[in-house]
């Protein structure tokens, strides 16, 4: 379809601020690419969800937005890079047998979870615990979080430089089946299926385990929880640890999808989107973070196709966030980590 036809069919246009181009609502492409965008959005949405859970857990327990969580994530991505490089993965499809590949990826996942978990716990110990001991006001925590984010970024910068690491390709995606005329590849299936499983586990952990009960108790009322015999400091540490482990899983999937995404500041954009996802779903609410991640992934993808340029992806996601918060100020599912319904 030519450009003229497009404009004739959809004459609704907006004048763009730079004065030399127009926004066309590209409904034709939107329809053509709807299912492509849906499945890609779900894949990235799953990754956002895993990161968003880290934001939401910490917020639920400490009422703290841990802006350094994006660096917890990228530290895991570096662990994936180092592990896979050590195992001989590189720029070409290694063409490994399934058993070898599963073994290697499992090792990389464990390495990423360990590194992200350790970074998260160290962050809590070094940056936040001293502030809690001195009863610092919330604003100080926020500034510290931003400072910690930069500190970790520049530790990686000093260590690995400004360029992204070389690609580590785990396996080249291959279409498995077709839905609505769109090829679904094995990476998408792996990421979405694994992310759903991880989410189910986390959900059960929060709702049914002893530590989960502790987390919910501290989230609801830290002082009463302490009186009831819950070790608050220990619960806080476990919360950071769980957030770190989830970020490690996300890091594996992110590097699977973007093999050259390991870069000192590579967590920033993802972190912002994951944070938006957590707020969208209802910050402090673990199921909200899962839903929010998927919504952010989908809205960004639909929006950029509809408005005709990839540059709109973030803008449309944040506009959607603002609109939803106007009607539901506590997010889609509400803030409720501490409440019984979760």
């Amino acid at each position: 379809m030519s450009q003229q036809e497009r404009e004739a069919v959809h004459p609704l246009t907006l004048f763009l601020a730079d004065g030399n181009s127009w926004i066309n609502f590209d409904v034709t492409s939107f329809k053509e690419l709807f299912w492509d965008n849906t499945f890609n959005g779900l894949t990235y949405g799953a990754i956002y969800s895993l990161i968003a859970m880290g934001y939401t857990l910490v917020y639920g327990v400490l009422r703290l937005i841990n802006f350094a969580h994006s660096e917890v994530f990228i530290s895991g991505a570096f662990a994936v890079y180092f592990t896979l490089s050590y195992l001989g993965f590189g720029g070409a499809d290694p063409g490994l047998s399934p058993v070898a590949l599963v073994g290697d990826l499992l090792l990389a996942a464990v390495a990423a979870m360990v590194v992200s978990g350790i970074v998260a716990v160290i962050l809590e110990r070094v940056a936040y615990r001293p502030l809690r001991k001195r009863n610092a006001p919330p604003l100080v925590f926020l500034i510290t979080a931003i400072g910690a984010s930069f500190a970790i970024q520049y530790i990686w910068y000093a260590f690995r430089g400004a360029n992204a690491e070389s690609a580590v390709i785990m396996f080249v995606p291959h279409p498995v089946f077709t839905v609505f005329g769109t090829n679904i590849d094995d990476q998408q299936i792996t990421i979405v299926a694994a992310a759903i499983l991880v989410m189910v586990v986390v959900d059960r952990f929060i709702n049914h385990s002893r530590f989960g009960r502790g987390i919910r108790a501290v989230a609801q009322d830290p002082d009463t929880a302490t009186l009831m015999g819950v070790n608050k400091e220990r619960i806080i540490m476990i919360t950071f640890l769980v957030g770190g482990l989830l970020a490690g899983v996300a890091a594996l999937f992110y590097v699977m999808r973007v093999p050259s995404g390991v870069q000192y500041n590579g967590g920033f954009n993802l972190g912002i989107k994951a944070f938006a996802a957590a707020v969208l779903g209802g910050i402090g609410n673990i199921r909200g973070a899962m839903l929010g991640g998927v919504l952010i992934g989908l809205i960004g993808n639909y929006g950029q196709t509809l408005l005709g340029a990839s540059q709109w992806s973030d803008i449309i996601a944040f506009v959607a966030l603002v609109v939803i918060l106007m009607f539901r100020p506590t997010g889609v599912l509400g803030e409720s980590l501490g409440k019984a319904r979760v």
Partner: protein, 410 residues
């Protein structure tokens, strides 16, 4: 009890998800996989010969030059994310100065390096320092467009002639600066050349132009689109952002349009993952990038997918000029000349010839460069009143077996 259940559940999840990955990998064994040869429909052969002007100016001169207390400066990146380009350039300058000083015992030119880290915010302070050093009568730099834009006025005020070996933004010569000279073609040459390369040698009938949000990417895409005309399919053009890594929606758009080639107007940091994601989705056409993507980092970050990549660049492949390449390797412990090493060498040669001719003050050397008219190793140097070269060539490159090789002029 619950902890044990939790541990079991985690193990089950991990094994299940990776088992899925495993099944996935089995499918790949049957696919063609990522080979090492170019996957595009057109395969331009590597060229190893480069025509060099026979009477190219040599930094050594006639060996009878007389001068004392004069210095040439390099101002540009020595550190920071883009340091490699700066190192390439000043190694070229150093080589020219060494050759000159060895041949001319009566004229020892000093060489000073100033580090801007490639940063427009740091460059003005550094350049002020350069201009303040009275012994410096000519400079090579600055390498990048942003920092050049921020410092051209300072050079102008100090009356210090400077030749940029690599800044390509066309607007740099529209500021009325009389001390600014550019030793290569700008983006209003590169854009049309990219278009010509796509529709000519690469035989592309339908091209998707993807641009980033930098001044460089926007300007270059505009020039390229204008020359491509109807060959550029507006239905699959897209605008991405600096720092973007997820190109899935852009890739879907391109795949739906089935173009013969994709032109990415931007830098390798985004171009490399974009090419990799395109190829992963089954794109078999040509990927063309400009000089901002022509870097070994592109090949590293795109991995095997980069075998469909071609580049256009106003930079001359210095490694193909045997006399230059050998001297460069000898002076740099075996390293081959990099992108823009030859441009740095040629720019320094122009200044050295001026010094040899007796132009040993800033106004004299500026006047000498203004009226310069001779061949260098890379091209013929004669500037117009704004500091642009009259005729410049754009060179084609491709990725072959993980290396960037020359495929002929565009």
């Amino acid at each position: 009890m619950s902890a044990a259940r939790f541990a079991r559940a985690v193990t089950a999840v991990a094994v299940l998800s990776l088992a899925l990955t495993g099944c996935a990998a089995k499918n790949n064994a049957t696919s063609s996989g990522a080979g090492s040869g170019p996957t595009g429909p057109v395969n331009l052969p590597e060229q190893t010969a480069l025509p060099v002007p026979g009477d190219a100016a040599k930094p050594a001169g006639d060996g009878k030059a007389k001068c004392s207390g004069v210095t040439i400066a390099y101002a540009g990146a020595e550190s920071g994310g883009n340091a490699q380009l700066g190192i390439n350039i000043y190694s070229g300058i150093q080589l020219a100065i060494n050759k000159h000083n060895t041949a001319n015992p009566g004229c020892q030119v000093a060489f000073k390096k100033y580090d801007t880290a490639g940063d427009p915010a740091q460059a003005p302070g550094v350049v002020t320092q350069v201009v303040g050093s009275k012994d410096i009568i000519g400079a090579v730099g600055l390498p990048f467009s942003g920092e050049s834009k921020a410092t051209g006025g300072i050079f102008q005020t100090g009356g210090l002639v400077h030749i940029t070996p690599s800044a390509t933004n066309p607007s740099l010569t529209t500021n009325g600066w009389t001390t600014f000279f550019r030793a290569l073609g700008n983006d209003s040459v590169q854009g049309p050349a990219a278009a010509k390369f796509l529709t000519g040698k690469l035989k592309a009938k339908k091209v998707c132009v993807i641009q980033d949000d930098s001044d460089y990417g926007i300007g270059l895409a505009k020039e390229t689109n204008a020359t491509l005309g109807g060959s550029a399919d507006t239905a699959c053009s897209d605008k991405v952002t600096t720092g973007q890594k997820d190109f899935s929606a852009t890739v879907s758009k391109v795949m739906a349009a089935k173009p013969d080639a994709v032109f990415y107007s931007g830098y390798y940091a985004e171009g490399a993952p974009f090419d990799q994601q395109l190829v992963n989705k089954g794109f078999t056409g040509v990927f063309l990038g400009p000089d901002g993507t022509k870097d070994t980092a592109f090949v590293k970050q795109a991995g095997a997918a980069s075998s469909n990549a071609y580049f256009v660049c106003p930079c001359v492949p210095g490694e193909l000029i045997p006399s230059f390449a050998q001297a460069f390797s000898a002076a740099n412990s075996g390293a081959a000349p990099g992108t823009y090493s030859l441009e740095g060498y040629d720019a320094a040669t122009v200044l050295l010839k001026g010094i040899d001719s007796g132009a040993v003050t800033r106004p004299a050397l500026l006047n000498y460069v203004k009226n310069y008219n001779a061949d260098g190793l890379s091209k013929h140097f004669q500037w117009n009143s704004t500091g642009e070269l009259a005729n410049t060539t754009v060179y084609g490159y491709k990725v072959q077996n993980g290396k960037i090789v020359f495929v002929g002029t565009v």
